[in-house]
């Protein structure tokens, strides 16, 4: 195992336990120091600008607060105890004491099977097992037409300017996890679709996180040039692992640019280990007449914070953001969807639906911003949650910033328990309580799932929702 924390170990034993949530406490707040980052960057053969960029982010991470709000307080996670995953090839030189073990053969096989299942339907596959690239392949015909489908390390070597531009365009980090993720990222995907290329079959990326205590940090970018189209499906899974003994982290970012008249669909299906903390930031800029569809499903993980922001940056630009979540036990999801209409005649629609069981909690932050001059903008946002028991809590915090006067803007949020009358109606037809609730839950999700323009994602989501119901996730 990569043990960059060795330097801290002696220290941590004498430290009094801290709570996360502020950046002012004493003691170690980060799992690594600048020397570790330097070694990582050198071992990966990175250019100087990137090392400097990483170190600046590490420095920011020292003082920035943990992410969260009064609805989401991250108590259990101790960032300094996390062991960042480094690629196998460099981990040995990064930490001499304990080299990263090769992924267990069983897990690699399980990941292989998962990848294999969807291979026929995919034009490209990227599979990552605990930070190691197991597979990165793209259909030859697409490669010849200039489509790039690269692991970030390869992208840095082959297209450093592309990566640099993408990284430098990221908004300033406002929390420790985001800054740390940027300082330590070791994997991720760079996808580039040149002008006028329609990628018909979806591109599929599988991120498998199976190692207790590990931290995976990813940076990805999807650039779709004018008139092109593409579908990217990101899956986050821990395969069939038992609940981890130690908390693990994934912090990932995806930057999307949808060029003029281009179409992109980005789906993300998350079924991570019950002790995994995931922090996802996905940001898109959609240019004139471009169309983007987000389709995100949140089922696993101990805590999930997701931030989705779409800037409709050209007249006629459109976005559909569909998200579903299903939480149980002590799971916590914190979802943000920001819709920024910065140009006239843009259309944005956000549909979020969730089911909660056990003591789980959800919070949804929905912002619609319509900039001055964005006349004719049409924005819609709806969030609905269904509480299956008395224990869970769900909050929706919508906010509107309308700075233009000729716009349409609608938003709605509702949380309700299972309707007793519906339940009785179904039971009177012979369904037991469990079956009746399952039917109500399926029916609750179904119209939203049907809004997802990708059959593959619809199927995958239905499957995961079933498994969640059977408590397999």
């Amino acid at each position: 195992m990569a043990t960059p924390t060795n330097a801290h170990n002696a220290q941590t034993q004498t430290e009094t336990p801290r709570t996360n949530g502020t950046g002012t406490e004493t003691g170690p707040t980060l799992p690594v120091d600048a020397r570790w980052v330097e070694r990582l960057s050198r071992a990966r053969g990175e250019p100087d600008w990137l090392l400097r960029w990483r170190l600046e982010r590490l420095h920011q991470a020292e003082t920035l607060p943990m992410p969260g709000s009064r609805y989401t307080r991250i108590r259990g996670l101790k960032l300094h105890e996390i062991e960042p995953l480094a690629l196998d090839s460099v981990s040995a030189s990064v930490s001499a004491s304990t080299p990263t073990p090769a992924p267990a053969a069983g897990l690699e096989r399980a990941l292989g099977e998962r990848v294999e299942r969807g291979r026929a339907e995919a034009a490209g596959v990227y599979a990552l097992l605990d930070g190691s690239v197991v597979s990165c392949e793209l259909e030859e015909s697409l490669r010849r037409r200039g489509v790039l489908w690269l692991d970030v390390a390869q992208a840095i070597k082959e297209h450093p300017e592309l990566v640099r531009r993408a990284l430098e365009q990221l908004p300033e980090p406002r929390d420790r996890v985001t800054a740390l993720g940027r300082a330590l990222f070791t994997s991720g995907l760079f996808v580039y679709v040149p002008k006028g290329v329609e990628v018909e079959r979806p591109l599929r990326a599988v991120y498998a996180m199976t190692r207790p205590g590990a931290g995976l940090f990813t940076q990805s970018a999807l650039i779709v040039e004018e008139g092109s189209s593409v579908t990217l499906l990101e899956e986050h899974t821990s395969l069939e692992t038992e609940p981890f003994e130690r908390r693990a982290v994934h912090a990932g970012e995806l930057a999307v640019v949808v060029g003029p008249g281009a179409r992109a669909s980005v789906a993300g299906v998350q079924g991570l280990n019950a002790r995994l903390y995931q922090f996802m930031r996905r940001r898109a800029r959609v240019q004139r007449d471009g169309q983007l569809a987000w389709a995100l499903g949140w089922l696993g993980g101990r805590l999930t914070m997701s931030h989705v922001e779409t800037v409709l940056d050209g007249p006629g630009a459109e976005v559909d953001d569909v998200q579903v979540f299903f939480t149980a036990g002590r799971q916590h999801v914190d979802l943000t969807s920001n819709l920024i209409h910065s140009k006239p005649h843009t259309r944005g629609e956000v549909n979020v639906k969730g089911v909660l069981k056990g003591q789980s909690q959800a919070v949804f932050w929905g912002l619609i911003r319509i900039d001055p001059g964005a006349q004719g903008a049409n924005a819609f946002q709806a969030e609905r949650s269904l509480l299956l028991e008395r224990g869970p809590k769900s909050n929706a915090i919508p906010s509107l910033e309308i700075l233009a006067n000729d716009v349409r803007c609608t938003h709605a949020a509702a949380t309700s328990p299972v309707d007793e009358e519906q339940l009785f109606y179904l039971r009177s037809r012979g369904l037991d309580e469990d079956e009746a609730k399952k039917l109500i839950v399926d029916g609750f999700f179904e119209p939203t799932i049907e809004k997802i323009p990708l059959p593959l994602v619809q199927t995958e989501l239905r499957l995961l929702l079933d498994r969640k119901w059977q408590e397999e996730l």
């Binding site: 009785f424 037809r429 012979g430 369904l431």
Partner: protein, 270 residues
């Protein structure tokens, strides 16, 4: 032990208020009974209690069906035993296509008592036969075939919902069906269609308790016995001629006879 639905001295309260105050009634298989009565007489409360709605509390009495104590059973167990309730106000279940729902209900119904649904141990339903029957039943109830894939009752008109209840009855083939004002709000053609569907199930293995406010459906349903329910009790029972009498004179004479107040609304109800 008999195959009948036997209701003995049944008392039902809703939120602490007594609504049904001692009903005795026996409906044998092969028979169709009608319960008529003015608004607020407790007819629908009786129906809900028979199906086991948790808000309807049985405070006294017993209900047997096929010799089993119905009151001990959960609603789904009552359904599996062969009871069916056509709801006065059918619920909308978004996102659940009618055909999927019917298939699952049919599996549950065929599964019989005590068998747990979901995955293993469920009886096989002949899918082709199911589709054929669904198509026929839709046609009989004058519902377009597209209803099979529409979400259960969602966006259906009042009349479509009522006919869909009867469609469910045809598909699930209960042994004892309780129709709770299925005819209310239906035009006369729909009333005929509903009655025809009920008559189709009629036979030695099917009994029916039709609750209604109006006499007109009885012209087509032709009940064997008609009961009049007033203030939580059955106050009179008789043959089809009783319905005819109510048609002509309304509930007023009966209410006067019982020394009860006659509301304006009940005068001249046909």
């Amino acid at each position: 032990m008999t195959d009948a639905l036997e209701i003995r001295d049944l008392h039902v309260s809703v939120e602490g208020k007594a609504i049904v105050k001692g009903v005795d009634l026996t409906v044998r298989k092969g028979e169709v009974h009608a319960i008529m009565g003015p608004n607020g007489s407790g007819k629908s409360t009786l129906a809900m209690a028979l199906m086991g709605h948790p808000k309807y509390e049985v405070t006294r009495g017993e209900v047997l069906f096929k010799g089993q104590n119905v009151l001990e059973l959960e609603p789904e167990e009552r359904a599996k035993l062969g009871l069916f309730l056509a709801f006065q106000y059918p619920l909308e279940i978004s996102g659940v296509p009618l055909s999927r729902f019917l298939l699952q209900a049919l599996k549950a119904r065929l599964g019989g008592e005590g068998e747990k649904g979901g995955g293993n141990g469920q009886p096989k339903v002949d899918f082709r036969e199911f589709r054929k029957q669904l198509k026929e039943s839709l046609k009989l109830l004058r519902l377009d075939e597209s209803f099979a894939t529409r979400y259960l009752n969602e966006g259906f008109s009042g009349g479509e919902k009522k006919r869909c209840e009867i469609l469910q009855m045809l598909m699930l083939k209960p042994e004892m069906a309780i129709l709770d004002e299925t005819d209310s709000g239906l035009d006369i053609d729909s009333v005929k269609v509903v009655a025809a569907a009920v008559n189709r199930l009629r036979g030695p293995d099917f009994g029916c308790l039709a609750i209604t406010h109006y006499q007109r459906i009885l012209n087509y349903l032709k009940p064997d016995v008609v009961h009049v329910m007033v203030d939580g009790r059955i106050v009179r029972s008789g043959g089809p001629e009783l319905a005819q009498e109510l048609e002509e004179k309304g509930y007023e004479p009966i209410l006067r006879e019982l020394g009860l107040e006659v509301s304006e609304a009940e005068k001249g109800v046909a």
